[in-house]
Amino acid sequence: MTGTFLGMPAFPQAAARAVRDGQLRANLRHATHTIRDKRARAVAELDDWAQLRAAGKAIKDHTLRHLDRYLVQLEETVTAAGGTVHWAADAEEANRIVAGLVKATGQSEIVKVKSMATQEIELNEALAAEGITAYETDLAELIVQLGDDRPSHILVPAIHRNRAEIREIFAERMAAWGRPAPRGLTDSPAELAEAARLHLREKFLRAEVAVSGANFMVAETGTLVVVESEGNGRMCLTLPRTLISVVGIEKVVPTWRDLEVFLQLLPHSSTAERMNPYTSLWTGTAAGDGPSEFHLVLLDNGRTTALADRIGRQALRCIRCSACLNVCPVYERAGGHAYGSVYPGPIGAILTPQLRGTASPVDASLPYASSLCGACYEVCPVAIDIPEVLVHLRERVAEQGGHPLERAAMAAAGFVLDHPAALTVAERLAGRTRALHPRRLPGPGRAWTDTRDLPEVPAEPFRDWWRRNRT
């Protein structure tokens, strides 16, 4: 496992490998079922969940419809509060802006708040190329970074690791990145947390520059919001002199009243809590309190392309809660890495192909990484109809060529099914030759018969029974 998603195989191949990994399946099953059940209990406490969900959807849809207006308003309020706003059309531009801002401070290292947007643009790699070291300070992101690994879950990036593996990573790798792990470190959660605390504390106290994302940006006041559980984010947001926040343009909400809805939807859906432990809010800069310099980099990177698609745009409502991952039977068995992106699971399967396109094998395979069971839609706090978008994106993949054999099969089926007489002939033929049907098929048919028998074909189709008995 290496720290990049480049050149990933298509989903089915990567998922097949994960399915064979018994330890991974057990880890994922335990973790996803635990959090899925907790979420269901937390949501059941609220009588008005359905209304909250409808409100969240409506606020996001309204904001996306008037995104141009709210983004300009946000730029004005952030600027008025002492911040500087930068606009980045793509990952390359965002990375160049951040690297330039860090260099201007004369620093060669930064601390980071857990952020999906900076993972998406591969900021750490871009900064490393400029001689700047980025230190992840979220516990799970630290585990991923020290292990030269990739995140496999939006909320719990190291969900694929167990305690023993984490102990090993800390013991072996912490020294190369800063303060070494204490001698005789065991895999007890308290000891692992203390090792991370000591390792990270040194970074917080030394850091001059921090990079964050944001869960929300309130347009009316120019306020940014980060919700978290550990408090490490707050360390980064308050201690350094310079704060640079890289945020996707869809994260804006118009007012504080709108924010209130999401501050209920998000913790209930992600960590199954009534309220998350830390909610940090900041508005520009304040003399003698927190960072004296604040930069906001507004990131497009494919978002306006998604916004132009009438069906696909609902993916931009996503608040990155990861509830869809935790209920997804496919994610549970394939794991996060198979999705070849920082956005795994059902939401990743509709977001990644819209942000990156469907040209690569893995991106073209993502819309098919679902049985369309609908569990994701049911739990989504902003009611994204993920199955609807999956099917819509499948159409896009099929139109760009699809699979030749599949196209031929669809064409043949199309003819037969539009000619009932031909269908009857085909059904009778299948019935009369049934003694000759094999149990296993060669070639592409093996995808069915490796684990399943071929269906037994009846002696006569229903049509013929009807003709004999009811006409």
Partner: protein, 254 residues
């Protein structure tokens, strides 16, 4: 009351016993059943694989085949969901693409008339005890589209609970997908098989001898996996259990 049976292509070609059982059950309850011969397939496999264009003639065919019937009874939740949720979408897309509103009109006119078998029995006929007899231990798998798209809720369980001699045992993890998912079963065969494995382990753990469902496409996948393993559990459509009586008990149809 006269209704049309939408047997569905899977039942017509592979599970005629389910369609026959649906006819006998409905006739026993005093309903006159027609089988319009123009029907074939709802187009779900094409649509869900990304071939919306290939699906359009089937929307037209299905709407025309069932024109004039107040109730089109269908022993398959996923085919009903296809007509109810996706036909109007397909029609709207065709209209948005400047190809007129004919398809949209056909789709919206047909959609509310197509009902799933358990909806028809409970909501339209108002029966729970259909007079069935089936002296076996049964566990029920609620297929995803019936469960989440149609919201069938406890209708199938209420019908099963009223069957004489039947012992209904709860299936752990019942609401989890079995892994069929149409072409998903072959496009992502490894994950599909892993999902079937877990579903079957849960079903075998109940001690039931019959795994009942209301969607034969899921039972096709689970049944084919069970047969490969020679597992002592028989997949069976709900209609066949409800059609079974003391005078005419269920028998394997093949």
């Amino acid at each position: 009351m006269r209704v049309a049976l939408f047997a569905t292509c899977v039942n017509d070609a592979l599970f005629p016993g389910t369609a026959v059982a649906t006819v006998r059950l409905l006739e026993r309850l005093g309903v006159t059943v027609d089988f319009p011969a123009g029907q074939t397939c709802c187009g779900q496999p094409q649509y869900n694989t990304g071939y919306r264009g290939a699906c359009e003639p089937l929307v037209r065919r299905t709407a025309e085949a069932f024109a004039g019937y107040d109730h089109v009874v269908t022993p398959s939740g996923s085919c009903v969901a296809m007509v109810r949720d996706n036909y109007p979408r397909i029609g709207a897309r065709a209209a948005a693409e400047g190809r007129g509103t004919q398809l949209a009109d056909l789709a919206t006119e047909l959609a509310p008339r197509v009902v799933e078998l358990t909806e028809f029995l409970i909501d339209v006929l108002g029966v729970e005890d259909v007079g069935a007899h089936f002296p076996h231990t049964v566990t029920y798998h609620p297929s995803c589209h019936g469960l989440r798209l149609l919201g069938l809720g406890d209708r199938p369980r209420r019908l099963l609970s009223a069957v004489k001699g039947l012992e209904l045992v709860e299936l752990p993890g019942a609401e989890e997908c079995c892994g069929f998912g149409g072409t998903f079963a072959v496009k992502n065969a490894a994950v599909s098989a892993a999902m079937a494995e877990d579903k079957i382990a849960n079903a075998l753990g109940t001690g039931a001898r019959v795994l009942c469902g209301a969607d034969n496409s899921c039972l096709l996948h689970l049944g084919a996996t069970l047969r490969r393993r020679r597992a002592p559990l028989r997949p069976l459509h709900l209609a066949e259990i409800l059609a079974s009586t003391e005078a005419h008990p269920w028998r394997p149809s093949r």
